[in-house]
Structures are given as C-alpha cells and as structure tokens.
Symmetry: C2
C-alpha cells in the first residue's frame, strides 16, 4: 500500500485491458478489478489477465469482493464493501500476506475496519458518483476526519477527478482512488500522469 497514492478501481469496459495498461504506463501502481455483473468464468479470465498485466508493470492487483477469484489468480488482495465478507473471514482464506481493504463511509465504519485488521480503507464517497448510485456523498468533512484519525493508509474515493482533486488534497487526503477519471479518460496514460502530478504537489 505504501507505494501507491493513486488507486484505480475498474469499471466494466470493452477496452478494460487496454485502459488499464495505458494507465499503468502512466505510472499507476495500484489496481482493483471491480465487476459486479459478469459471470464468474469470464471474471476469472479477466482477473487473471489483469493480474498478469499489473504484475508485469510491478503494480499491486486487488479483486473486489471475491476472495476466491483473488486466490485463483494470485492477486495481492481483496477489497471488501461493508456488506461483504467479514475481514477476519477473508484474512483466514487469504493468509497474513494478503492485502485487505474495506470501504468506509463514516467514523464508526472506519474504527471497525481498522479494529478488524483492514490493511487500508476507502474513505468516501467524497462526491456523488454513479458507481455508488443512490449513496449520499460523505463529503470533505469525512476526509478531514480521516486525515486526523485514520491509523492505516486510506484512500479518498468517490467522484474524484483532476478538477476537484485539489480540494480533496486540501482536506488532508494523500491518496485517492478513482474510477471514471481514468476509465473514461480519452488518454488514460496522461490522465494518470496528471493525477499523479497533482498528488505529488
């Protein structure tokens, strides 16, 4: 986790591999494969391809939700939502080396995730986002809280792009996770470079 300040969470795309590779070429070092709709057989194939690609670029690769897919493809870990498997259960299956992240939307979820042994947490949604439709934005206030209280690496997430990133950094974030800012960028390599420049300022 220490080496990544920018975290790409993928969304379904016809150009999934190309987009992720372009992003890796821009210097991305953290990728999460997130795909709620595809059948498992195909999901496993894509996860295997993405894992190989990420490791080729020396980036960490995590799988959303699915510990079995993560184990099957040799991923570095999993990311679990609040309604997913308990962290302790995932830990038992993944072993002590596997990275486990947990989404959190408020201080109470943050404390619990850290107490349960999350290696990192997501902090958001900072802004409203179609990835979590219908979910109220937790806002910059929760980012400020995380900046004061979080004792594990944390990523601000939710509707973050090059436009609003300065505000998020201003609120105390040092790491961010994005979906659309990379997945829907016309030039993912440049998008990553731009985000990384802002993060490094």
């Amino acid at each position: 986790m220490q080496r990544g300040r920018l975290y790409l969470v993928t969304s379904p795309s016809e150009r999934l591999l190309e987009t992720v590779e372009a992003a890796l070429q821009g210097g991305l070092t953290l990728v999460q494969y997130r795909d709620k709709d595809t059948e498992d057989g195909q999901r496993w194939e894509r996860a295997a391809q993405l894992c190989q690609l990420c490791h080729h670029y020396n980036a960490l690769f995590l799988v959303n939700d699915r510990v079995d897919l993560a184990l099957a493809v040799g991923a570095d870990g999993v990311h679990l939502g609040q309604q997913d498997l308990p962290i302790a259960v995932a830990r038992r299956l993944l072993g002590p080396q596997g990275l486990i992240g947990r989404s959190t939307t408020n201080p109470e979820e943050m404390s619990r995730a850290i107490a349960e042994g999350a290696d990192y947490i997501g902090v958001g949604p900072v802004y409203a986002t179609p990835t979590k439709a219908g979910k109220l934005a937790a806002g910059l206030e929760y980012v400020r809280y995380a900046a004061q209280q979080a004792t594990v690496p944390w990523f601000a997430i939710g509707g973050i792009d090059t436009e609003n990133l300065p505000q998020v950094l201003e609120a105390g974030a040092k790491r961010v996770a994005v979906v659309r800012a990379i997945m829907q960028a016309e030039h993912p390599t440049q998008a990553v470079q731009h985000l990384l420049r802002l993060l490094d300022q």
Copy 2:
C-alpha cells in the same frame, strides 16, 4: 455423493433454516445453498448456519458458485454452473477432498464436466422451471442419455416433483435434485419422505 439420492438446492426463503432442518429430519442427506441475490456478509452467515445444521444431521453441504464461501464455512464442496469458475480452478482452491458438481444441459457439457473432473453432474433442466427462467427444458431425452453415458453420479434436475418423479425414474434417473418440491412444500419433512419413498421404489 454415493449416499445421496435426493439433493435439495435451496431458494431464497424467510424460513430457510427451518425448511432445511425439516427436510433433514425427513432423511435428506445432500443440501446446496443457492442464493444469487443476498450480500456476501449475510450469505456467509447463512452458509455457516446451514453448514452446521447439515453436518449436525450428517448431511453433505455444498455452496453454489462460491468457492470462498465454501472454504470459509467448511462446506463439503461447491456446485458450479457452466458460466462459473473452471473446475480445475475450483479444485486447486478446494483441494482434492472438496466435492465439485457442474450443471450440464447436453451431452457435450456432460463429457466436458466429466473430463474436467466433476465429482457429480446435474442433468437438466428436465422440465421448465422458474429457477432457470427462460431456459429450454432439456427433457427426458437427456435423462435417458445420462442413464446410458454418465460415468459419474448424476442428478436429474429441473421442475421435478412427486407428480412427475416416476417418469424421471422411468427414464433412468436414480438421483434427483429439487428446489420447489421441498422449499415450497407445506410440510418439508413429509415432502422429503415422499420423494425418498418414490426414489427407493
């Protein structure tokens, strides 16, 4: 597998545990937890409860689709559809002792599942069923084919109940899997006893 001629595949129910326990009391020895809609955290809890219940009654317990849930709760195996994980991948995660079943709807899928190492296969859907809405019934013809050709234990499945079970047995089935015939029975214990009586004739 050898000990079970009747296989219950669960459907979502407010009385899931009660129904399964009543079925176990009727002599059921094989249960598969199938639940496509529930969030993973809750699914894990239910799977853990069902697994404990089944093992208490000395019945085998399998999980649909999810190898991680199966591993997490100590299930006896998984059941995989055609679009799910490859059998070899599941085998690697589950180990040699884990039971792996595969749904098949035609001779080609049957051969492949057996070649890939399935411990048992589903053969169906024999009749149209809401569990696989929009899927054409494979019919009794495929059951007759299985009776001649299958070299692993196989379960006729799809819309089977006490009414049509005699036809399915007539076509050569020795084992059947059901959903509604037990899950929606007014008295699951008696439903199981009735089905087992027919199977034993």
